[in-house]
């Protein structure tokens, strides 16, 4: 899984030191105001993501999970509070500075893939690397590696619309990983997939994580969340629970913990 794992690379340029905490928020707040109506979507959230850690964010709809992820990725500005990425405070950055930060350090995967429909699969995956300053040769090499690993190298010249949902999400994953981001932010990455494609995308996320990729993922699907090292439960815009997943000892439990076969 060499290509998916973050590794030494000429681009983006490596920073001299890695802080132990990759991403951290302090008293983060996001308030929407429109037509005199105020909605407090995120209300004082303190979370941390360690280097190489895989954390899932769960919670009811309207609990603020997606908003939190968007604010962390700079897609929407925070109302107040702090966001620290790689030891640098980033909540006050301009839109342009966020764009550069995302290019270099943040990969995004969305529920509805958000691929550029007028470009081929290959161009979709190469674009972020080219924007970040890679040479066309480097971008192509990285794209070939990723598409091969994700099992869609034969789709390089296709238009995204010709692909199945599962294939489109793999392309989106390849695009998100193209610049070897410090953190992968995933917003319901399996929300629009059937169970077999869900399993494939999960397997790929797991492999990326095994290769050292830090992942922060919003999901309502407990199967997906169970792969994470830790699960944060959001409720009403606040952290209700934040705990490592501790597997129940395998010796005694299997399906019988859940299903009682009668007869």
């Amino acid at each position: 899984m060499r290509g998916i794992a973050p590794k030494d690379s000429p681009w983006p340029p490596a920073q001299p030191t890695e802080p132990p905490i990759l991403l951290r928020t302090s008293k983060l707040v996001k308030v929407y105001r429109a037509d005199g109506v105020t909605v407090e979507a995120v209300r004082g959230v303190d979370i941390e993501l360690g280097i190489g850690e895989f954390v899932a964010i769960m919670g009811p709809s309207g609990s603020g999970k997606s908003t939190l992820l968007h604010v962390l990725g700079g897609l929407e500005p925070a109302t107040s509070g702090e966001i620290w990425l790689r030891g640098q405070r980033v909540d006050g950055l301009s839109t342009a500075a966020w764009a550069i930060l995302r290019r270099q350090h943040i990969g995004f995967v969305f529920q509805f893939f958000n691929l550029l429909s007028n470009m081929t699969v290959a161009d979709n995956v190469e674009l972020p690397a080219l924007l970040a300053g890679a040479t066309p040769r480097q971008a192509r090499k990285r794209r070939e590696e990723l598409l091969t690993e994700l099992g869609i190298s034969d789709k390089a010249d296709a238009a995204p619309a010709r692909l199945s949902g599962g294939e489109q999400q793999r392309v989106a994953l390849a695009r998100a990983l193209a610049n070897e981001p410090s953190v992968l932010l995933a917003d319901e990455p399996t929300g629009n997939l059937d169970s077999s494609n869900t399993r494939d995308v999960l397997r790929l996320l797991r492999r990326a994580h095994d290769g050292g990729q830090a992942i922060l993922m919003v999901t309502h699907d407990a199967r997906v969340a169970s792969l994470a090292d830790r699960v944060i439960n959001l409720f009403d815009g606040m952290v209700a629970d934040d705990a490592k997943i501790v597997p129940i000892p395998r010796t005694m439990n299997g399906v019988a913990d859940v299903l009682e076969l009668r007869g």
Partner: protein
């Protein structure tokens, strides 16, 4: 345990250990292996009820083994079992009763109860997703059993979330 043993014996006579192996092979590793003692006790009761009969079969190199076969009454009981509708889904009422009653008695905080229950479910879910990844793709009964358990657990978690939305 009674009906699965009758069902296996409807196919062909067998001794206790063969029945244990057949259950394990059919349902795969996901389901805990039945205890051999439990199988023998069940067979004995089935025999007392007239649903199976047994005979000792001599073996040249080993001790005799007791082979069980279905009786006509056993076949009738099996047919009745197969024909009747099965129980619908069961909810986890024990946790729900705790959730409702314990805070009323001042014994626990609802949010804490729900958080610890969710952690427990997620721990089981981790095991199940790992079992699913390891399961033999050719073994449909085992795969479907794991998938059924996952879907039930997902429903338990969804229900827990509904409780959180309404009760906190």
């Amino acid at each position: 345990m009674r009906q699965p043993l009758l069902a296996l014996l409807a196919k062909e006579p067998a001794h206790g250990y063969e029945l244990k192996l057949a259950l394990e092979q059919t349902f795969g590793e996901a389901y805990p292996s039945p205890n051999i003692g439990q199988i023998y006790v069940t067979l004995k009761r089935l025999e007392q009820d007239g649903l199976v009969r047994s005979e000792d079969v001599e073996q040249t190199t080993r001790p005799n083994k007791r082979v069980y076969a279905l009786t006509p009454a056993g076949r009738e009981a099996l047919r009745a079992w197969v024909g009747e509708p099965s129980d619908g889904p069961r909810v986890r009422d024990e946790f729900f009763i705790k959730l409702i009653l314990a805070p009323m008695a001042g014994l626990a905080d609802r949010m804490e109860l729900m958080n610890s229950q969710r952690r427990h479910y997620l721990g089981i879910m981790r095991n199940l997703t790992e079992l699913q990844a390891e399961a033999d793709p050719a073994d449909a009964p085992a795969r479907l059993l794991i998938e059924g358990a996952i879907l039930h657990l997902q429903a338990d978690l969804d229900w827990l979330q509904r409780c959180q939305e309404e009760l906190v």
